[in-house]
């Protein structure tokens, strides 16, 4: 048992930190740290910078551009990139669809899709949820009917993040309507330019346009775009959702946000002292720091245990990371809102208008406080709500 990072691990961290801080434009890192929206261009720029250094898909196999890291190195990479405000490499490409294609795809599919996916030459989005299929994902109704060497896809997906930028969508469709729920589903890759696809924006509480509805009306998809076996798409989905859960602790982002909380609360005065000098406020910050440190250690313990796991199904204990990680993220946005106080009220619809509206540039930092607080309610809902995570823990860990 050695509970400290080794000298090599610390050197690895230093190297990454230097790269992140010098290679990724400060304007992008600042926006991430201040919870402002990035443009598509900024996301692509940042992704490509990481990719140039082999840092976009380090968890992929070496032959497809991955690095040969230990779990601890992966952990350091994630934490350090988050702490420095580096936008995550597009998760739909690198954490969701990529691993599925690697695990279930044909050699031809891998060659065709993976390099462009890793480089973000193609932007992918996720077609899983439907209006009637949220927590109960297997209740999905979008159909794909085989006609010769095509599927004809009809139906509707929802909560499709950044579909407005996407070149491709990976999609769960029902291919056998007579089979029972989880059976009869297939995993298809669909070109967003195919006729019959309509994207409708959904405006969310923060005023932003992050998610969409995607409608499919007789959309023709070549059968070679089926990943894995026909009717066995649920295997891909389970695999993907398991991967999604482990990335969700977001320790580095929370650390970064706590640093920001301390800085801003040190500037805002309440009475004759700063908010950070108020006993109760600073104890609330410290309480979140404690939870976060515990989460960080828990995450490393799970990583360490995973080395001994035979099965490659996700470790059910990782549901803790989702529950605690989302609670902590929400607590930090709550603290930012509390700092902004009455200055959180003005609503600025986008960066441009915000610029024009900035009557009081010295309190400009307060503008994203409320939208971020609203927006972060999603983190306990998506990727399997926290109630679903508790169900998983109850069944898979406690044996109920």
């Amino acid at each position: 048992m050695e509970l400290r990072f080794s000298a090599e691990e610390n050197a690895f961290r230093e190297e990454l930190r230097t790269f992140f801080r010098t290679a990724v434009p400060e304007s992008i890192r600042k926006k991430v740290s201040e919870n402002r929206h990035l443009s598509k261009e900024e996301m692509v720029t940042s992704h490509k910078i990481l990719h140039s250094k082999g840092l976009a898909v380090p968890h992929w196999p070496k032959e497809w551009g991955g690095a040969d890291w230990t779990p601890v190195q992966h952990y350091i990479y994630t934490e350090e990139s988050q702490f420095n405000g580096i936008p995550q490499p597009l998760p739909f490409n690198v954490s969701m669809n990529g691993p599925v294609v690697i695990a279930f795809g044909t050699e031809a599919q891998k060659k065709r899709f993976l390099p462009r996916m890793a480089a973000l030459d193609d932007w992918w989005c996720q077609g899983f949820s439907e209006p009637g299929a949220g927590s109960d994902l297997a209740g999905l109704k979008t159909t794909a009917v085989r006609q010769g060497d095509h599927y004809i896809v009809n139906g509707q997906k929802t909560w499709t993040t950044l579909a407005q930028y996407a070149d491709w969508i990976f999609c769960l469709c029902r291919t056998d309507p007579t089979a029972k729920k989880q059976l009869g589903i297939s995993y298809l890759l669909i070109d967003m330019k195919t006729p019959g696809i309509t994207v409708r924006p959904i405006q969310t509480l923060d005023g932003g346009h992050e998610v969409n509805e995607v409608f499919f009306d007789d959309v023709k998809v070549p059968v070679e775009n089926l990943v894995g076996q026909e009717h066995r798409g649920w295997d891909c989905a389970k695999f993907l959702l398991g991967n999604e859960r482990t990335g969700i602790a977001r320790v580095g982002y929370s650390k970064q946000r706590i640093a920001r909380i301390k800085e801003l609360a040190g500037r805002v005065m309440t009475g004759s002292k700063s908010l950070m000098e108020d006993d109760r406020f600073r104890e609330k910050v410290a309480a979140v720091e404690v939870e976060l440190k515990a989460l960080e250690m828990t995450q490393m313990r799970i990583l360490s245990e995973d080395r001994h796991r035979k099965s490659n199904t996700p470790n059910p204990a990782s549901s803790i990371l989702k529950i605690k990680g989302s609670e902590i993220q929400q607590a930090t946005t709550q603290l930012l809102l509390e700092i902004a106080g009455p200055l959180a009220l003005p609503y600025q619809t986008d960066e441009e208008e915000h610029g024009a509206n900035a009557l009081l540039p010295d309190i400009d930092w307060a503008a994203p406080a409320a939208p971020t607080y609203f927006n972060y309610r999603k983190v306990s809902i998506y990727g399997g709500s926290n109630e679903i995570q508790r169900n998983i823990l109850a069944k898979a860990v406690l044996g109920f």
Partner: protein, 382 residues
């Protein structure tokens, strides 16, 4: 002690609720009002006046109905349930409160008839960018011109309803250091007066506010509502009455969100059953219900104590109410969104709008922790 409404109060409640149901039940109507020039429905504002809502708190001598805070509570709760946008709080509760507590006969005679008829709106400019929740933290200055008038200079920020108000009541420092309790006067300023610049914007909850710059704004002696010896006392009692009204508004919004959530749980199906059949979700709905009821109790308490003659007791009670309401807001707002899942995160559905308004009410005049601090420092409730 008696919690029953009188017949008149019940009638008021029924008529306000009926009007607001007809005009606000459909979220698209509300979106329409937001797009109107003032950011709310001017026609509806006039209908409130026809119902007599504007006259409620003003004394009969002032041209009002001489009713009490209970009636204001009834109206505010209905506004909360409807998510009404119209500037009743800025005009009637805040600016109107200042006129009730400090206005002179002449000013009342000039302003109140137009207010009561819904022809004039006012706003109270009491916040500044550095003031946070301290009403005494005022850096805008009022310099006496030697003839009983003043020249105002400074910036007021986040003035609720300030972008469309016809007149502003401005707190400004006549003497003393920035956070001194004495030396703050209250002045009536025409929104179009020379030297007044307004920057209006929408607020997070779909309403409107403004940042106001006052640059050598000259007002005459007739514009002085409260002199430096009593400006803060007036601001404080008005703020306490406004907090009581905001508590009631929050109760209306929370109750509506709680009911909406229960309805959703009963209809939304997953895994082949209504999600309301899951015990965990039922119990969360129960916790929302309990939080609403506890908040309602404290909204009553605030209404009762806002008129207490002892300012220390009054302020402690108001803080206690704001603490409970703020904590209930967190439970009801966050749980309400969580139980709705994705749909609760969208602007196309009412739940999120309740959540946003409730969150802003928590921040208005001090959040729960701010008031807990105040209450504890004053020795607690008993």
């Amino acid at each position: 002690m008696d919690f029953d409404l009188s017949d008149e109060q019940r009638q008021l409640k029924d008529s306000v609720e009926r009007l607001l149901k007809d005009t606000y039940d459909d979220l698209n109507l509300r979106k329409g009002y937001m797009k109107e020039p003032k950011g709310y429905s001017d026609a509806l504002y006039k209908q409130y006046a026809e119902l007599g809502l504007m006259a409620v708190p003003f004394s009969e001598e002032m041209g009002g109905l001489g009713q009490g805070l209970t009636e204001t509570m009834i109206i505010a709760e209905a506004f909360g349930r409807a998510l009404a946008l119209e500037p009743y709080l800025p005009t009637i509760v805040l600016a109107g409160g200042v006129l009730r507590h400090a206005g002179n006969q002449a000013m009342a005679a000039e302003l109140i008839p137009a207010i009561v008829e819904g022809k004039q709106t006012l706003a109270l400019a009491f916040q500044e960018r550095q003031s946070r929740y301290d009403l005494a933290n005022v850096s805008t200055t009022a310099k006496a011109d030697g003839k009983g008038g003043y020249t105002l200079e400074g910036e007021k920020s986040v003035v609720w309803g300030g972008d469309s108000a016809d007149k502003l009541i401005v707190s400004a420092r006549v003497s003393g250091g920035r956070a001194d309790r004495s030396g703050i006067g209250l002045f009536l300023v025409d929104a179009k007066a020379s030297g007044v610049t307004r920057k209006g914007y929408p607020t997070q909850d779909g309403m409107r506010a403004a940042d106001v710059t006052l640059s050598s704004v000259r007002v005459g002696p007739e514009a002085v509502i409260a002199g430096p010896d009593k400006g803060l006392d007036v601001l404080e009692v008005v703020a306490d009455e406004a907090i009581a009204a905001l508590c009631a508004e929050a109760v209306g919004a929370m109750a509506a969100l709680q009911e909406l959530t229960v309805d959703y749980l009963k209809t939304r199906k997953q895994f082949g059953v209504p999600i309301g059949s899951f015990q965990v979700l039922q119990h969360k709905a129960v916790d929302m219900y309990t939080a609403v009821e506890q908040a309602r109790s404290m909204a009553y308490y605030a209404t009762m104590m806002a008129a207490d003659p002892d300012p220390k007791e009054r302020r402690k009670a108001i803080s206690a109410a704001k603490v409970q309401v703020g904590r209930s807001i967190k439970i009801v707002g966050e749980t309400g969104i969580q139980l709705h899942g994705g749909i609760g995160m969208t602007m196309e559905y009412k739940a999120g709008h309740y959540f946003k308004r409730l969150t802003m009410i928590d921040l208005a005049f001090g959040d729960a922790d701010h008031h807990l601090r105040q209450l504890a420092a004053a020795g607690g409730l008993q």
